[in-house]
């Protein structure tokens, strides 16, 4: 009964969503075990769209969800090293899986990448991460921007701010007004990774694109010790003056709740925040505003999720991996997934009409290549990134002289 229903659903999906896919589904479905950490409400709804799309094209999705990214990745790595790898495993679009590539633990999906022309539609930054020595080692699932600015309309109204800030200076002005109105200007969760997000946003939007690349990509000691970067650090520290006393240790969704009930004015956080607004039945434009940066040329900071495919010699597993890589990157799958997840698709040649206003802003930004910037982890190893985070969070929380922080960042990025 259920089988028949599933088969029917699969057939309907296959014919409705993918009319171009002419290949008939094989008689025995290609089994693919996928390790991922999409466990929250919206996330598991999103992963379900992947599973269904995969099933519709002749696969069988075996779900191994492990809560927390760190945990899921270490499960994947342990199983890869232990010789019992899953068919696919989720990683972030970062250097996280570089070691596994270098150790030769991954299958490449060159065949799919060449057939589907990944080079033509993937952003260069994503390509740089998944392509190692000319081979494609991961299938990108989505793009997240971790550093959006979110504004509470209720708080802005109370503070008498008519327009959302258009420059970083206007942001400071707005924060001052919010403070004067007795509202927590910057709703911030004081956890190291969130401190890092604010830093990334400050460096990109206050320091600018060139400085950003010099610090994160080139790890240039001269730039880090320079006057411009010092100004960025001081602006970052200035932002810290706008948080409330209860900030340390707060979760990001609790900070978003402050925006929702008008107790907080601005939050700097990733696009997953939309899920919280949606749950509180708040709408963009009416209750909250969003901006990926300031101005039409503002940098758009890219990160996201990928699937990697651990090494195996079993022919049907390799087939499953290739089918997965192809299904994941198809436009229809991309849109369906991102609508639920709150992210944006990895390609811009999609029908964005069903996506929300913020996501459409993001897609518009993605169309302009000169706006692309990678998140820190796209350029840095997990170790460098972690060492940097320690310095940044210490600077945010403590009274560390800015010159010492500059020196500490140089040495954090040296290793």
């Amino acid at each position: 009964m259920t089988f028949a229903r599933h088969a029917l659903a699969a057939a309907v999906l296959a014919s409705a969503v993918l009319p171009a896919f002419s290949q008939a589904p094989p008689s025995t479905p290609l089994k693919a075990e996928v390790i991922h950490w999409w466990t929250s409400g919206g996330e598991s709804a999103a992963v379900k769209t992947l599973a269904e799309a995969y099933k519709a094209q002749g696969g069988l999705w075996v779900d191994t969800a492990v809560a927390l990214g760190e945990q899921a990745r270490s499960v994947a790595i342990n199983r890869i090293a232990g010789g019992n790898p899953p068919t696919a495993a989720q990683f972030n679009t970062t250097q996280q899986f570089r070691d596994i590539v270098d150790q030769g633990y991954l299958n490449n999906v060159d065949a799919v990448a060449q057939r589907d022309g990944w080079d033509k539609f993937l952003p260069q930054l994503v390509l740089d991460v998944i392509r190692v020595n000319g081979h494609y080692y991961a299938a990108p699932v989505n793009i997240h921007n971790m550093s959006w600015f979110w504004f509470s309309k209720a708080a802005f109204k109370k503070a008498g701010i008519a327009d959302e800030p258009k420059t970083f200076d206007e942001l400071f002005a707005a924060l001052d007004k919010l403070k004067a109105a007795g509202i927590v200007p910057l709703a911030h969760g004081g956890q190291p990774w969130q401190d890092g997000i604010v830093f990334t946003a400050t460096l990109a939007h206050y320091g600018g694109r060139d400085l950003y690349l010099k610090v994160f990509r080139d790890r240039d000691p001269k730039a880090i010790m320079g006057e411009d970067f010092k100004k960025v650090l001081l602006a970052y520290k200035r932002l810290q003056g706008y948080v409330d006393k209860g900030s340390p240790g707060r979760n990001w969704n609790d900070a978003t709740a402050m925006l929702i009930n008008g107790r907080g004015g601005v939050q700097i956080m990733g696009d997953w925040v939309k899920g919280e607004f949606a749950q509180a039945k708040q709408e963009h434009g009416r209750d909250y505003g969003c901006a990926p940066g300031f101005g039409p040329k503002a940098p758009y900071i890219i990160q996201g999720d990928v699937m990697v495919f651990p090494k195996t010699n079993k022919p049907d597993q390799i087939k499953a991996q290739q089918l997965l890589a192809s299904v994941i990157t198809q436009p229809a799958t991309q849109v369906a997934f991102s609508i639920k997840k709150g992210s944006i698709p990895i390609r811009t040649d999609v029908d964005a009409s069903k996506m929300d206003a913020c996501a459409q802003m993001g897609l518009a930004a993605m169309k302009d290549k000169s706006r692309h910037l990678g998140n820190g982890e796209i350029y840095l190893t997990p170790d460098q990134n972690g060492a940097l985070q320690d310095v940044i969070t210490a600077f945010w929380n403590r009274n560390v002289p800015v010159e010492k922080t500059q020196k500490d960042i140089v040495s954090a990025l040296r290793n």
């Binding site: 760190e70 945990q71 990745r73 270490s74 790595i77 090293a81 996280q96 070691d99 596994i100 150790q103 004081g190 956890q191 190291p192 401190d195 409330d244 006393k245 209860g246 900030s247 340390p248 240790g249 190893t381 997990p382 170790d383 990134n385 972690g386 320690d390 969070t393 210490a394 945010w396 929380n397 403590r398 500490d408 040495s411 290793n415």
Partner: protein, 291 residues
């Protein structure tokens, strides 16, 4: 006789194998890894003491060590003093002893994570104790240690003590009950005040119990991790970081097996340095025919 010892050895063998492979083997492996440049996966190269140098240069590691030292001294002292006083209190043949004993021991039945979360809520300045007291009218009341860089480690001590004192009480109470009634009677005849009896007679007689309690608490100090993660996540910033958290962070999210192993080795060496004199004294006592 010989066959019996053979059987005993046979029974012990599985344990010996587990200890040999599971504990000593992994310790050796960690030692080896700490001298390699391992990242996500173990590597076979040899880089000498490079990882240890980096460790000692790391502000975060030094802070973690400092924190665990503060935590260790205060937590062990506080848990032992409070635990002992509770035990003495219960030992006064109070009514409802069973209820009190259970109440005091209850926190120990809670996991570290639950303990950490509870205290996080209690100490949160916006919604916890501070807020409640201010609502009651004492508006200048301030207790925001958990968000204070310099005080946060003491909040971990509070939570740890709250959780651990009950167990200390139970063990101490057992120790107190083991003291012969005759001693009390003799002391009473001599007119010695009760506090003096506790301090000068009972406590020295309870030395083995004290040693057990100390060891249990000390082990808890070295592995303190869950409470910190649940309560402060090592924050604000890295202010309440502890070595175990440093090691776990580098082991998993930072994919730096080498540095994490170096941290683990440092921790082991520290523990050995603390425990070795204790064992030495004990073995000397045994050799001299004491017990």
């Amino acid at each position: 006789m010989k066959r019996r010892s053979l059987a005993a050895w046979g029974a012990l063998l599985p344990l010996a194998v587990i200890v040999g492979v599971g504990y000593i083997g992994t310790v050796l492996w960690t030692l080896r890894t700490s001298m390699s440049s391992s990242r996500t996966f173990p590597r076979d190269d040899f880089v000498g003491l490079q990882q240890f140098e980096r460790l000692l240069e790391s502000d975060r590691w030094m802070l973690a060590i400092q924190n665990v030292a503060i935590y260790g001294v205060l937590y062990i002292t506080a848990a032992m003093v409070i635990g002992f006083l509770l035990a003495v209190f219960i030992d006064q043949k109070v009514r409802g002893e069973g209820v009190l004993r259970t109440a005091f021991l209850y926190p120990y039945a809670m996991s570290f994570v639950a303990t950490g979360l509870v205290w996080q809520w209690v100490l949160n300045p916006d919604s916890g104790l501070q807020h409640a007291v201010q609502q009651l009218g004492w508006s200048s009341f301030q207790f925001d240690w958990i968000v204070d860089q310099d005080m946060v480690i003491y909040t971990v001590v509070i939570a740890g003590t709250w959780q651990g004192a009950g167990l200390v009480m139970a063990l101490m109470l057992a120790g107190l009950r083991g003291i012969d009634e005759e001693i009390w009677k003799a002391a009473r005849l001599d007119g010695i005040p009760a506090w003096r009896v506790y301090l000068s007679i009972v406590l020295p007689m309870m030395a083995p119990t004290l040693a057990t309690v100390f060891t249990l608490l000390a082990v808890g100090v070295v592995k303190v991790y869950d409470t910190v993660v649940a309560m402060t996540q090592g924050g604000p910033g890295i202010a309440s970081d502890v070595p175990a958290k440093f090691i776990m962070d580098h082991l998993f999210s930072r994919a730096n097996l080498g540095l994490a192993s170096a941290g683990a080795v440092m921790l082991l060496v520290t523990v050995l340095a603390l425990v070795a004199p204790l064992f030495y004294v004990r073995s000397r006592q045994k050799a001299q025919g004491g017990h």
